[in-house]
Symmetry: C2
Subunit: 273 residues, 2 copies
């Protein structure tokens, strides 16, 4: 079985197991819709409008085409990065070359202000002769609880092993909102251009439910007031601002004719400014 088949099978399986567990938690059902990409490939969105999860999305996609677009590269890779297997291809190795990309992305916006927003993505890319993995998981609580943050990071540290400190730092840099001079949430892990990353993608994907579900179970029954709700709706604006102004995946999708419904799976169901 080649890498394309292997990763797609991994990502679909991950989607299926996550969706099943979240449905069990929520009591509601994800609605699945397929879409096709005119240039090659497509995807399957799974969307939940539930009680516990006011909006949740878990999207699988596998797309391909003749010309990989030019994209920004991380400015520098140091010896620590190389030792961890991070090796961004040179622009001329990939720009304009045939490409294949598959991944699974998840964002959950709970109704309760005390249950944190969570995001997870794992992806595999081939362009020209290069191939690499990327992904991340991060937690965005309206009001952070130290116990939850500790549990979440401990689960990710177990999944990422000796790469955890570097990938945690990467998340802190990436999930930052410059115009508010503020982190998006309490961080997590982020990585990109990782060669031989199938094992890590597997363990990061497998870490999602044990990292997140215990937090949901601890916080879901806490009562909240209408004032908490209004504050939560205003706070959600920051998530929209980050995704529309800075998030590379969102902007890349919007500017290259991606599926708008799948891209905006990540945006909160109701937001106030």
């Amino acid at each position: 079985m080649d890498a394309r088949q292997q990763t797609q099978e991994l990502f679909r399986g991950l989607r299926d197991s996550i969706v099943a567990r979240l449905e069990e938690l929520d009591g509601g059902r994800f609605v699945r819709r397929a879409w096709e990409r005119p240039g090659g490939g497509g995807g399957e969105m799974s969307e939940l409008r539930g009680q516990l999860f006011e909006k949740g999305g878990c999207n699988f996609s596998a797309v391909w085409g003749d010309r990989y677009p030019s994209v920004d590269r991380p400015a520098t890779v140091d010896d620590e990065d190389r030792a961890l297997g991070i090796a961004p291809p040179a622009s001329e190795e990939v720009s304009g070359k045939p490409f294949f990309a598959t991944g699974v992305s998840l964002v959950l916006h709970p109704r309760s202000p005390w249950v944190p927003v969570v995001h997870m993505n794992v992806r595999y890319l081939e362009a020209g002769e290069a191939c690499w993995f990327g992904g991340g998981i991060d937690l965005t609580p309206f009001r952070p609880f130290a116990d939850d943050t500790d549990h979440f990071h401990a689960a990710l540290a177990a999944a990422a092993g000796d790469r955890y400190p570097r990938f945690k730092r990467w998340a802190d840099e990436y999930f930052f909102i410059p115009h508010r001079n503020s982190a998006r949430g309490v961080g997590g892990i982020f990585f990109d251009y990782l060669r031989d990353g199938l094992g890590l993608a597997r363990s990061v994907g497998a870490a999602f439910l044990p990292a997140y579900v215990p937090i949901v179970e601890r916080r879901r029954a806490l009562p909240w007031s209408e004032a908490d709700r209004q504050a939560q709706l205003r706070w959600r604006g920051r998530y929209v601002e980050f995704n529309l102004v800075y998030d590379r995946g969102t902007l890349f999708g919007l500017k290259t004719g991606g599926n708008v419904d799948a891209i905006f799976m990540s945006l909160p169901p109701l937001v106030a400014w």
Copy 2:
């Protein structure tokens, strides 16, 4: 009186007359807050959270500094543009030079789905030896009424005179949402890099109330259903998407340390995705 004083007096007066008329229409009061810019100058926000206008903002600012940032220029200026007085300065004439900028910006988000969103801006800039005016007015109805669109464009045509056709075309190009392949609203006028534009800025500013208020008065009493309201909240997402992904003024402000509250005056009070 020099141009800086003259334009600031014009823009403050415009803000005062618009705010007064909108308070009369709404019954609520604008709250005024001043802010200072560390690099020089500042502004006055006026915000209304009313009945008719669920959220409205009318912001005056006058800022200055030592180094005008590099900014995108319109790609080409043709003979028609030159005949209308449009003359973008060359980048080397303005980049890094001392600058002064003053303007007034207004966005109204009515509560009723049948009363259109409206935006107005007029501004005056000096950078290096160059100075110019810019601005525009555009209407964004959830459900357009042909009578309203006709009235609005007739009022702008009267204000802009022989420059109306070019400035209308410019608005159609500018207020477009590529990822939805759709205009933001029913257009209006947009202009930039206009030399000797004081007269036009004055007449565009003066056109705002007569262009918009009759539409409000015609539509404000129409009843709407909860389903209309929900559809309006989803539709408002497009306005956020345009402003955060494409609007040059918003991105320029966010990326150069502008006042976040003043910038997000333009975002709708409540939005659903």
